[in-house]
Each structure stands twice: as structure tokens, then as C-alpha cells.
């Protein structure tokens, strides 16, 4: 008799467990991407020197940069990054892309003469793929939020 009562009690207790168990996990709905920066991501590193991109990302985004010889340089208008009412360029230094301020000295058709605030020999200026680069830069800063 005792055994059977035990069995029954066990059964009584088992179903409510079933009800509790399904609460967590398994919201297989969304697989959230992990951190956005890392050695196997498009953005390899981020520091105050800017961001470093994987070579695959540079290729996919068709990012191209031109050599500049000095602090004062003429660049195509398309290399200009407009943010609100300010103007910048993206500088490539040792693999780091960084947005830097410029001063426009002269405008001549599709060419601008600008002065770059911080210049070191070997610096380049990004001329193509700026939309992607700028978005990646913003993304590394604040991420992307999904809202409905």
C-alpha cells in the first residue's frame, strides 16, 4: 500500500513540474549576434586610432584610399564625408581608419583643396566605399538597435 501511495504522490508532483519547466530558454526566435568587434568579425579592433577592418570587409566594401604627400592636399569631392553641417575625411594610417577634421581651403569643380589637422607621412585618404566605412564606424560606436 505504502509503495503505491508513494508512486501516486510522485505522479501528482510530476505534472506541475512539467508546467514550470518550459519557461526558460528555447525562445529559438532570435539568435542574437555576439559582440560586433573581434578577430573573426568585420571590425577587428577599435581604439582611439579608429577602427581596423578585416581584409574581406575592405574588399567587399570596395574601400580604396589615395596617397597624400602633405598636410595640404587636393582631394575629389567624393572623398568628403558630410555629417550634418560639418565636413571630414577618413584617414588610413597603419591599417586604422579614422575620421579626421579638415579645413576646406579652396573648391575647384570636383576637386577640393583641404588641410588635414593631423598628418604623418604615409597617411592615406579614403576615396571609395565611404558610405560603408562611415556606417561601420558608427556601428562600432553605438551598435544598431532594432525598433518597431
Amino acid at each position: 500500500m505504502k509503495y503505491i501511495l508513494t508512486l501516486c504522490l510522485l505522479f501528482f508532483s510530476s505534472l506541475p513540474i512539467a508546467a514550470e519547466e518550459h519557461e526558460h530558454e528555447g525562445h529559438g526566435d532570435h539568435d542574437e549576434a555576439g559582440a560586433n568587434i573581434g578577430p573573426d568579425k568585420g571590425i577587428l579592433e577599435k581604439s582611439k586610432e579608429g577602427i581596423k577592418l578585416s581584409k574581406e570587409a575592405v574588399e567587399t566594401m570596395a574601400i580604396k584610399a589615395m596617397d597624400i604627400g602633405s598636410q595640404s592636399v587636393s582631394i575629389p569631392v567624393s572623398a568628403l564625408v558630410k555629417i550634418k553641417d560639418e565636413k571630414y575625411v577618413y584617414r588610413l594610417r597603419n591599417g586604422w581608419f579614422k575620421r579626421v577634421e579638415i579645413q576646406v581651403v579652396q573648391k575647384n569643380g570636383n576637386t577640393l583643396t583641404v588641410i588635414i589637422s593631423d598628418f604623418v607621412a604615409g597617411d592615406k585618404i579614403v576615396t571609395d566605399g565611404l558610405g560603408f566605412l562611415r556606417t561601420s564606424d558608427v556601428f562600432s560606436e553605438e551598435g544598431a538597435t532594432h525598433s518597431h
Binding site: 500500500m1 509503495y3 503505491i4 501511495l5 508513494t6 508512486l7 501516486c8 510522485l10 505522479f11 501528482f12 510530476s14 505534472l15 506541475p16 513540474i17 512539467a18 508546467a19 514550470e20 519547466e21 518550459h22 519557461e23 526558460h24 530558454e25 528555447g26 525562445h27 529559438g28 526566435d29 532570435h30 539568435d31 542574437e32 549576434a33 560586433n36 573573426d40 568579425k41 568585420g42 571590425i43 577592418l53 578585416s54 574581406e56 570587409a57 574588399e59 567587399t60 566594401m61 558630410k82 550634418k84 553641417d85 558610405g131 560603408f132 556606417t135 561601420s136 558608427v138 556601428f139 562600432s140 553605438e142 551598435g143 544598431a144 538597435t145 532594432h146 525598433s147 518597431h148
Partner: protein, 1048 residues
Amino acid sequence: MMNKMIQFSVYNRGVVLFLTVLLVLAGIYSFQQLPIDAVPDITNNQVQVNTTIDGLVPEEIERTITFPIESAMRGMAGVQQVRSITRFGLSQVTVVFKDSVDIYRARQLVSERLQSIAGDLPPGAKPGLGPISSGLGEIYQFVIDYKEVKQGQERIEQLMEIKALQDWFVKPRLLTVEGVAEINTTGGFERQFHIQPDPKKMATYRVHFGEILEALKKVNKNVGGGYVEQTAEQFLVQGVGLLRSIHDIKQVPVKTLDSFRVIRIEDIADVKLGRELRTGAATYNGREVVLGTVMMLLGENSRTVALRVDEKVKEIQSTLPDGVELKTVYDRSQLVNATLSTVEHNLVMGAVLVIVILLFLLGNARAALVTALIIPFSLLATFLFMKPLGISGNLMSLGALDFGIIVDGTVIVIDNCVRLIHERTKILGRKLSISEVQDAIVEATIEIRQAAGFGQLLVVVVFLPVFALTGIEGKMFVPMASTFVIAVLAALALSFTTVPALASLLLSSDSEDKEPRLMGIFRKQYLPVLEFGILHKRKTIAAAVVAVLVGIVLFATRGSEFLPQLSEGSFAFHMIRPVNVSLTQSVEFQEKADKLVQEFSEVEHVFSRIGTSEVATDPMGVNVADTYMMLKPRSEWPKEGWRAKTYEELVQAIMAKLEKYLPGQSYLASQPIQMRFNELLEGTRADVAVKIYGPDLKTLMNLGQEVQEVVQTVPGAGDVESDMAGTSPVYKIIPKSDLLTKYGANLSDVLETISVALGGEEAGYIYTGERKYPLIVRLSDKDRADIETIENLPVGLSGNATTPLSSLAKMNFQETFGSVNRENSSRRSTVMINLRGRDTESFVNEAQHKVSEKIKMPEGYFIEWGGNFKNLKQAKQRLFILTPVALIIILAMIYAAFGSLPQTFLIFSCVPLALVGGIISLMIRGLPFSISAGIGFIALSGIAVLNGVVLVNYFNQLRTTEGLTGVALIRKATMIRLRPVLMTALVAIFGFIPMMISTGVGSEVQRPLATVVIGGIISSTLLTLVVLPVLYLVFEKYMQKFSQKFSH
């Protein structure tokens, strides 16, 4: 009464069989009428009010449109929730009604309320109700594009042309298809004639924007001159002014200068086809296209409608202009077919296996045939009741049907008939006459009817707790349980009517029932085991108790998930870019992403929807894209080593590639239907949602961040996400009243300049045939993008003069909110939390405590804890009451039938014995506990009790009729009842085997259920055949004289 019915069925079998045929025909008819989809619809009952308005910033739209509409929706009967979202160009108010409210009535109420405030909305705001559709509504998608893709401005014109084709040619024809609620269009450009004034020239001639608009509106119309009578007849008079071409537009005079020179449009503006300010776009395999989405009317049959649409699409394809093609990119009927074929395959295979088992165990083909016939009959009878009860056919409702369990009653009846006929033949030593066969069948059926019927009724009762589930869980599982119950009841009814009737027709009188060899083998194996059990009673019982305890320990440590996710055979990713990304850049990202995804050879094609479509069923920002990846059938996937990737591996691979090659966006992986459900149930699907209400957006955002930070520190918080998207820059132009006075300018002129020059204004239409294209006055894209040009926009002054905008207004950049969410008449920000490895209740308690301790709510702000956990809490409370109630009812039923407490518990002991096997089989297959498995356990309890009833009933019967006791009784009873017990068990097992091994679409949901039932039945059958007799022996002395109820 039951006995009379059985007698009637046998002696008037013609009538019964005729009625059965009628039932079959009616069943086939209802099946054709039954709404069929892949998964049950879990959308709540909602009406959306979408209001589009051009150019206004979100907070402005919220104040002038969202708020009035929302207030108007308050206080309607049956409303559960009013929530809204306001973003650039759109206000969407969602009114959620109780499920019991009829959707047409709900819409009626909403549109009445809407009517009453229509006059209060700003001009240009066009409120409209969303389509009458549900989360399953997007059943068919297609893209339109040119075969030869051009570049630059020519490409824009192509995109205009295909959009026009969609709007004026494809869409109207598809809307005529029965069952279609709406055709939604994404992407392309509306063909617009743009008049792009040059601000410098305007300034030179002192023309302001108002004059251009006025000039166009004045001429672009036809006028009527009435009719003129002549001698006998009459003719009509028409003055023609309608503009027809770009040339016409250029010639429109705007102003006459003092020098009498007439300034025409061409002197101050460029006229050409221009791009509209879009809020969304679409891509297909990496290039922009026009995407059409067919939305199905609520309650229609998605497969039928999709097929009808497909037919119409084929018709349209053949009549498209040369060089344009229309391709189907998503067709729900494929998924439904795949799901149905999984279900069908499982059912047919199950049925075949059941017949084979019966053949082997009964050794009687005719008996097997009768049982097999009951399978389609009970299925068709089930269809008959499904539609009236509002249950649709889908993987959950049809997929759970196991005919092994359903035909249990029939199996028991048929087994007894065969046995009795056999016995009588033996006694008489000759063939039975027809009437003798009939008598035997009636007797056999009556003898077993209580055991069989009773057992099946128990199966029904154990499903009771499932009906306690509410919300999404309820919508998924209640139809499943209902269908199962209907099918069992139908089979039960059939087993006392059609089964004896068929048996009397088909079972041969000389039923030479030589026991099949297989039964002999079983008996030989079984006997020594039973003997061992009888000898070592204590050890046997102890072993059973240990088994149950081990089972419970295993169960407690088993991981769990809510519901195994149905694989739809295709993916849908949200690709999310930074909130202020431009639409053009977003499209460029999408094109790259499409191409990267296409490099996977498993992918058939990729298409996407960026931002908001024409009908804002899902108002996303332009930074978000729904990317659909249609996959090839898995058999065509390339093999890596010995097998192709699994779906999960493919998702991971795609994700990894995108993350490496295309930074700048994040990804959420999902599937098409699943994604749509989430969108419609917005915010309610997270385990826990912390909603913060209050008046100021900035404070709300800060509070949201604070809550997010605090909650993240609570153990068990998996993904924590806030829905406030951050701010977007807005360029504010604020006219200064002192400057206005100084120049004698009018505030309205300043505002008009801004809205026309930058936002653009419609100045009428250009008609070609029945198509009409808007005529828009707006600056060129290049001028609009230039801050300097904006500063120098000419504003008209009184007396033929203009002055630059900057002389009248101050301009600067400020931040605004990209979207505003509201709920229950207050602004809201939500922190959504999905848990990992912790039960919700203790998490919520701890999190609530922490939040109230660390965050002080400013005055006028408050927090509400909601989300899925509320539903679960409610379901749990109900289950806590209903599970014991169901168990007590079962106990009471057994007690009422057997009249003995020890026997009641004896029979009941089969249940834990069955559950052990279920748990172990889940372990072996490596499946977590889920609701699917839970349903399996419930079904299992019913079957286990059925086994116990059959056995104990016969023990009692033998005691009374033959006066046997003790070991002799046990030996005889188990030998005779071995066959039906084994048969019901094997039939149930084999009926489920195809489901357990199936890998087809939808098998994810069936597999755990089948696994549990199979494992459980194996253990319970083994144990009931050994442990139950032993227990019976032990308890025999406690039992009183048995009730006569079961002994005939």
C-alpha cells in the same frame, strides 16, 4: 442503451454502413473546406490604423495624429490594449481586441471612432485600416524587374516603370483573386514629374514657390462648357487645359515681369522624372526591384489562395510588356504541401505498420482490415467537427494524431470478437451460422465495451489540463488537444457501431484462429519473466519503485525548451544598421549582403524588404531590412564529408560570413512566418518586458538604460534589449518674429518655402490613360542636400521681392527621436529580457526588488512588468488546479468502475511506470523537455491506464466467473490478455515510429511527442505485464468482494 446500439449495429448493419458511407462523404467535403496552414495562427485579434503623412517629424505626428486617434479608440467594448508607434511619415495605432470579438465588428467600431475625429487631423493625413489579415497572411511574394538592367538615371526610370506596372497592371488583377485581402508593394519609385526650381534663378526673377504652385494648379485642368442646342441636336463644350507632357509643363507661364517678359517654368526650373522620398525599398539577389506581397484574408485557406494567386500570376506573366519579368519568390503552398506531406507520410506509414502488426498478432487479415478502415473513418469524422469548432488543419492539430492510440478501442473490440468466434467454433466443432456469428460479435463487443470505452474516455480526460493554456501556448496546443480528443471520441463511437457492423460482415464464420507464431514466441519469452516476478515479489516491486525514482531524478535534470521550433525550410534575417543610416546606403548594404548570402550553394535566392512598405503592416525604419533566404531542398545541398549541413549550421555559417565580410550591421536570424508573428505580437513575446511609462522621451530613454543596466546584473538575464532607438538629427528652421517684421514677411510664406522646396508639394497630376502621375514641385536632390542652398532659399515678400531664408530664420541641428512608442495612452519605453537557465518567477522577483531599490522613478513615471511570463504564470496557476483535478477524475472514474480503492491505485500505478520510459527515451534521443513532449506524457498516462484497466478487469472477471485466485488466476488472465495488451502497445508504438524518425518539414514538433509515447509504452507494457500482476497478488488480500460491474 450502449448494448442496444451494439445490437442494432450488428443486426441492421446495412443502415449503419450506409450512415458510415455518408460520414465518409461528409468528412471528405469538410476536409476540402478546412482552412489548412503550416502552423496554427497565434496572432491576437487586432485592428491597425495606419496614417501616412509626408514630411513631418515623429514628435509632430505623435501630437497631431497618433494622440487624437489613440484617444478616440479608448473605451470601446472588448479592447484589451491600444498601442502605437510613430515614426517619420507614419503613425500606426494598433487596437488589440479580445479573441472573442468578431474581427469585422471590431473594424466597424474602430472605423466609426475614426470617422468622428477625421476632421481634427491635419490636412494630408490619410488614416486607413490595415488589411484584414493575420500573421499567416503573407502567403505569396513576387518581384518585378527588367531582364536587362541599366545603370544610372535609366535604371531609375526602369524602377519607375516597374512600379507603375505593379500599381496599374499587376496589383488590380491580383486583387480580384478570391481570398486576397491586399497586395502590398515595396520598392521601386513612383513615377513623378518633378519641377525642380533653381533657387538662384528664382531669386533673380523674384519668383517664390507659392507662385509656381499656383500657376500649375490654375492651368492643369479641363473645364466644361455645358451643352449647346442647335436646330434639332445638341453638342457638349470642353475647355482643355490638362498638361500631358514635360514639354507642356515647361511652357506654363508663372509670372509677368514689369518688363512684360513672361517667365515660364522652363526659365526657372528643370522639369523631369524625379525620385520620390521613399520610406522603403526592396532587393532581389543583390539589386533593387519592386516586391509585391500578397496578403490573405483572415480565415481563408492559405494553400488554396496561394494556388489561386499562382494561377493568376502565370496569366499575368504572359501578358507583361517585353523585357519585363515577374518572378515568384515565396509561395506558402510549398511549405504547406511539405508539411502536409510530412503529416501524410507519417499517417500512411503509421497506418501500414499498424495493419502489419495486427496481421502478425491476430493472424487474421479480415480483422486487420476492419481495424485499418477505422483509421480513415475516424480521421474524416474529425474533419467534420474541426471547422465548426474553429480549428484549422496544420502541423499541430493534424500532426499529433496517432492512429495507434486512436484505434486502441477498436483493436480491443476486434480482438475479443475474434477470440469469441474462435472459442465457439471450437466448442461446436463446426462453422458458425451467420446469426451465430452476429450473436458472438454482439456478445464479445458488449463484454469488452466498458473496458475499451472506459479506457478511451480516460485518454480524453487526461487531456483536460491542456485546455487550461492561454495566450500563445493556448493557441498552439488547444487545437492539438481538441483534435486529438475529437478523433478519440469519433473512434470510440465508431468502435461500437461501425466496427461490430463491419466485423459481422467481414469476419468469417470459420475463423480458424490458429495463434500466429509471433504470439507463441512472445508467450514463451514472457512466461519465465512473470514466474520470476511472482517468486520475488518484493524485489520486483522495489525495482519498479527505483525505476520511477530514477526517472524523476532524470526528469528534474532534463533541460527544457518552450516549443521545438518548426523549421520552415527558409530563413528570414533582420539586418539592422545604425539608426540614422540613409535609405540609399541601406540599399547598398543590402545589395552586398544579398550577394554574400547567394554565395552559399544551399541558397536558392535572396530577397529583402527594407524600411516600410506602401501599406505599413510592419513599420520598420529604413535601417532595418527583412532579408528572406529561400533554400534549395535539403537533398540538393552539397555534402561536406558524409552529410549536408543542418539548418542550424547553415544559419551560423551565413551569419559568420556576413559578420566577417560586411561589418556595419547586426543580424537577427529567424524564419518568415516566425518573424511575422513576432512583429505582430510586438513586445509580448519576450519572457519578461519591463515597460516604463512617462511623458518625456529623454527621461524614458535614460530610465530604460538604467533598468537595462540593473537587470543585466541579475543572474539568468540572457538577452537584454531596449526598444528606444536613440536619437536622430533634425535640422530646425525657426523663423524669428522680429526679422519677419523687419522684412514685412509672412510666417506662412516662410513655412511654405520650407515645405515646398525641401518636402515637395503636389501641384496636380499628369494623366496617361487611366494612370495618373503626380506633379511635384521640389528642389533637385543635389540642391536639397546642400545646407548653403537651403540657407539661401528665396522667400516671397509682399511686393514682388524675395529674400534669403537665412535672413528670416535661425537654423541649427538638434536631436529628435526617430520613433515614439505609446501604450495605454502614455509614452513608453520597453526593456525586453529573454532568460537563460533560470525560472521566470524567481528572476522577476529579484529583478523587481533590485530595480525598485536602485532606480527612483521621477514623478509621473512608473514601471510595469509584463511579457510572456504573465501568460505562463496564469497557465501555471490553472495547471496547478486542473492537473490534480484531472487525476482525481481519473481516480474517481476507476474507483466508480472497480469499486475498490486498492485496485484503483493498482491501475493508477501504471502511470509512473509509463512516464519513466518516456523520460528515458527523451534522454536517449537527446531531446529536451518541451510542451510537445508534455503532450506526449499526457497521452501516455491515458494509454497506461487503459492497459491497466484491460488487465485488472480481466483478473476480476476470472475471479467471479471461474473462481480462480492467487497465482493460478494471474497465470491464466495474463496469458489471455497478453495479446490485447501487446497489440494496443505495439499498434501505438508502430503508429508513432514514422513520426519519431521523420526529418521532413515540421517533424521537429512531432518528434518529441512520438519519442515520449514510444518509450513510455515500451516501459509501461513491460512493467504492467510483470509488476501489475505481482502487485495484484500482494494486494489481493486487501481487496473486498469485487463489484460485479465488470463481470458478465
